[in-house]
Every structure is written in structure tokens, then in C-alpha cells.
């Protein structure tokens, strides 16, 4: 709020000739340091953006457009966020070639799989640290070793991991990293791209104008948003380890409470997984109908009925899940403000809802009667 009132810090951080401008610049630079500190980077490596979507676009298109003389091949995976996938699709329309790696059935991309597809003309590998649907954690350190050795730029979408997992860019050989504020309780509509200085990584700007952010991203900075992101990152740095333990204990309590239900499957690797994520399929129960029974809990589903495209989750499909299990999935997120009472309440509600919906499910009937559902001739519609 202080940055939005005239009595407060209302100046333009780019106006270096008057006091209001200086104060705004100082606030922005404090925030830049707070963001850099969380990932052990130099503040000069932080470029403000409107969020991780813009950071992904800037990283991927920025590298492709800058290094296109060197090559036009990019590597990513099938389960990236749409901000990455659609940036890649756009580059394909511009004549680039993209390899989309398949994750294993646990949702992980092996370093070896990355090494295997890097070619002479590969300029960028873009992989996420933590997947937004299933929470699995890629081995960024190992992949970074490979890309550095092969002199390929490595971009990591860390929208879901910053403030939740330790990120040390002194040790991880990552060249570009997308960050956002709102996944760790900061304001919506602000994020950043980390751009490594040593060895130096170049990107072609995607927004042209007054040359802000070292020419990489023009536009007057949203001081109030940036200050909010800095504060969120500062708090995360202080609290993340303690928070991790607490959130993990709650997630395990939740899983323990649900795993004795018949025919439930956890989607994605359980061990290499961010603490707050549980993605689970209740076979023979459609995900959207389950969410409807749990309206007072904040959940999402891989069911087609909850998506604009009417297709089940492409992430779950890429793990090799059947359409049925993808339709029957639920993502439950445990966070900073989740309590044990809420977990117990959710467990009880989910038990009730699954039992009720299975009572309603012809598939459950058939399963109980020993019918092999794969052998039934269904009329797809």
C-alpha cells in the first residue's frame, strides 16, 4: 500500500533525478536483492516480469531469437506448463525444431534422456523444477551438468519450487530461471527471470521500449508489486525449512488418511515430490463430481469437465495414465495456512464422497461384479 499513495513511495523507480524516484528505486532494488538471495544469485541477474508466464516466454523466445545462428533446436518435455509449451509451439511456427521428452511413468525426466537428445544445433533445454499438477521434482543439478558440458543453455521454470525447495544457483548450473510471486503468497501479476552473468547468457528482448531492466524487458516497473514479491521471497527464505517439515507432515497425514480407500492411485513419484502436493486418482469416480462434493475445499482435478478444452489432463496422460484414471484425479494442495483440522476434515469428506459416488457409479458395480472394463465395447461420444 505504501507504494500506491502520494504520502508513501509513489515515485517512478526509473526517474533518478528526484527524491521520489530514488526512494522507489531503492525499494525495487531491495526487493531484487531479496529475490536473488532466495536462490543464491546476484541481484543484477534478476529481471522483473509480469509473472512466470512472461519469464518463460522471454527465456525461450529470447534465447531462440538471440542464438538462431548457432542452431534452431530446442529440448523440453511433454508435461511443461503451457507457458513453455506454447512458446515452443510458436517457435516451431517460426521454423525452429523442438524435441518434447516423455517423462517416465513417475513423471520424471532423467538426465540421461536429456543427454541423449542434445545435438550439435541444440541451443536450449527448458525443463521445470517442480511440476504444477503432480509436484514431482526433476534433478536440476544433474541435468545442469550435462547442459553445461555440452554448452547448451538451460532454462528452468521454478514457479512451483522457489520458496519450497532449496535453490542454489551457485551450485546448480542453470542459466535462466522463471520465478513468480503468487505461488508463495506474494501478489499476482509479478515475477522475474534470472539471467546468468557468468558464464554470460544473452537473450533477445521480447518487449521493446525504454530500455528498462538492462534492455531485456522495457516498461515502467510496478513498484508495489515488486515490493510485495520481495517481501514474499524474504519470508519464504526465513520460513521455508520449518514450513517444509510442517507441510510434509500434513501431506503425509492426508495420504495416510486416503490410501486405505480401495482402488486409489497416487499420480507421480512420491519421493521426489514437493511437500505440498498430492495428486491422487479414485478409480471409478469422476473427478469433477468429486470436487462438487468437496466444494468447500480448494481442489482441482485432471478431469476434462474442469478444463476449457474438455480433454483430460495432458500431464497425467503423458505419464501413461488411462483416460479413466486421468478423469478420476484430484489435486490437493497443502500450504502455509493449512491446519491439521482441515486435513482431517478433508479426509473425512473425501471418504464420504468417494463412497457415495461409487454407489452411483455403474463402473464400480461392474468392477465389483468382476467385469473387465477394458473388454467392454464402449460407445465413445
Amino acid at each position: 500500500m505504501e507504494c500506491l499513495t502520494l504520502e508513501g513511495n509513489y515515485g517512478n523507480p526509473a526517474s533518478r533525478s528526484h527524491l521520489l524516484g530514488w526512494k522507489a528505486e531503492e525499494a525495487v532494488e531491495t526487493a531484487r536483492r531479496q529475490v536473488a538471495d532466495l536462490i543464491n544469485a546476484d541481484p543484477r541477474e534478476i529481471v522483473w516480469t509480469s509473472g512466470a508466464t512472461e519469464a518463460d516466454n522471454l527465456a525461450i523466445k529470447g534465447v531462440a531469437h538471440f542464438y538462431n545462428k548457432k542452431g534452431k533446436h530446442l529440448v523440453t518435455s511433454k508435461i511443461e506448463h503451457k507457458a513453455v509449451l506454447d512458446s515452443c509451439r510458436q517457435l516451431e511456427r517460426e521454423g525452429y525444431e523442438v524435441t518434447y521428452l516423455e517423462p517416465d511413468e513417475k513423471g520424471l525426466i532423467s538426465p540421461q534422456a536429456v543427454a541423449d537428445v542434445i545435438r550439435e544445433d541444440t541451443i536450449l533445454v527448458s525443463l521445470m523444477h517442480v511440476n504444477n499438477e503432480i509436484g514431482v521434482v526433476n534433478d536440476i543439478e544433474a541435468i545442469g551438468k550435462i547442459t553445461r558440458e555440452k554448452k547448451v543453455i538451460f532454462h528452468v521454470d521454478a514457479a512451483q519450487s522457489a520458496g519450497k525447495l532449496d535453490i542454489d544457483l551457485g551450485a546448480m548450473q542453470v542459466d535462466l530461471m522463471s520465478l513468480t510471486a503468487h505461488k508463495i503468497y506474494g501478489p499476482k501479476g509479478v515475477g522475474a527471470l534470472y539471467v546468468r552473468r557468468k558464464p554470460r547468457v544473452r537473450i533477445e528482448p521480447q518487449v521493446h521500449g525504454g530500455g528498462h531492466e538492462r534492455g531485456m524487458r522495457s516498461g515502467t516497473l510496478a513498484t508495489h508489486q515488486i515490493v510485495g514479491m520481495g517481501e514474499a521471497y524474504r519470508i519464504a527464505r526465513e520460513e521455508m525449512h520449518e514450513e517444509h517439515e510442517r507441510v510434509l507432515a500434513l501431506r503425509n497425514r492426508l495420504l495416510d488418511g486416503l490410501k486405505n480407500i480401495e482402488e486409489v492411485y497416487v499420480n507421480g513419484d512420491v519421493e521426489h515430490r514437493v511437500a505440498g502436493n498430492l495428486n491422487i486418482s479414485f478409480n471409478f469416480v469422476e473427478g469433477e463430481s468429486l470436487m462438487m462434493a468437496l466444494r468447500d475445499l480448494a481442489l482441482s482435478s485432471g478431469s476434462a469437465c474442469t478444463s476449457a478444452s474438455l480433454e483430460p489432463s495432458y500431464v497425467l496422460r503423458a505419464l501413461g495414465l488411462s483416460d479413466e484414471l486421468a478423469h478420476s484425479s484430484l489435486r490437493i494442495t497443502v500450504g502455509r495456512f493449512t491446519t491439521e483440522e482441515e486435513i482431517d476434515y478433508a479426509v473425512e469428506k473425501i471418504h464420504e464422497a468417494v463412497a457415495k459416488l461409487r454407489e452411483l457409479s455403474p463402473l464400480w458395480d461392474m468392477y465389483k461384479d468382476g467385469v473387465d472394463l477394458d473388454q467392454v465395447q464402449w460407445a465413445a461420444h
Partner: protein, 130 residues
């Protein structure tokens, strides 16, 4: 998405949930949809000698709208002749429940279900006449 009160009511208190014996000569069964599409509906009708539907039961795997439309369908078919029952349109169900147009395609299986159930009972009875 916001659900209408009618959808919520049918979802919370679904009418006529259950199963009749498939083998019963007076029961017609229609199973439509596919698990891969996220919707499967089983509609069963019990038909008297005059060809009037005296009872109906359903089970549905699908989203809330699919469950509500199945439940409503069982209410509507009771007391109708087989011909009258097949005149029920998906759009009528969607209108009654206040479903948005996008849901008509994906979650209202009513027309297909009643046609399949009627075809089943007719084939059973034709069989008897022979």
C-alpha cells in the same frame, strides 16, 4: 463453475439410483458413454404389459451435471409410453437444469440412454413373440 440449485439438488439427492435385474423380461437396459470420455450412464426401465414405463433406475459415472441429468431423466420417463419417452430431448434436460450449452454435448446422455433402453426392451419382447 457455478451449479444451479436444481443441479445441486439432483446431485445431493439423486432420485432412483440403483439396478434392476438385467434378465427380467420387463426390464430394458441402456448403457451409454465411455469411461475414457469421463461419462457412463446406465439407465434401466421397467415396462408394464401396455408398454408404459412404470419404474426407472440409473447409475452414472460422470460429472455433477451428468449425474443430475440422469436423475432427472428417470423422473421424467416414469409413466410415459415407450414412444413418449424417446421424445425427451437433451436440450429439455439441459434447460430444466440450467446447464450451459457446452455441457449438453459432454454430459447429457439422456437421448442415447433412453433410446438404448427402449431398443433393449423391444428386442426382448420381439424375441418372446417369435
Amino acid at each position: 463453475m457455478a451449479y444451479s440449485d436444481k443441479v445441486l439438488d439432483h446431485y445431493e439427492n439423486p432420485r432412483n439410483v440403483g439396478k434392476f435385474d438385467d434378465e427380467d423380461a420387463n426390464v430394458g437396459t441402456g448403457m451409454v458413454g465411455a469411461p475414457a470420455c469421463g461419462d457412463v450412464m446406465r439407465l434401466q426401465i421397467k415396462v408394464d404389459d401396455k408398454g408404459v414405463i412404470e419404474d426407472a433406475k440409473f447409475k452414472t459415472y460422470g460429472c455433477g451435471s451428468a449425474i443430475a441429468s440422469s436423475s432427472l431423466l428417470t423422473e421424467w420417463v416414469k409413466g410415459r409410453s415407450l414412444t413418449e419417452a424417446t421424445e425427451i430431448k437433451n436440450k429439455d434436460i439441459a434447460d430444466e437444469l440450467g446447464l450451459p450449452p457446452v455441457k449438453i454435448h459432454c454430459s447429457v446422455l439422456a437421448e442415447d440412454a433412453i433410446k438404448a433402453a427402449v431398443a433393449d426392451i423391444k428386442s426382448k419382447r420381439d424375441g418372446e413373440l417369435e
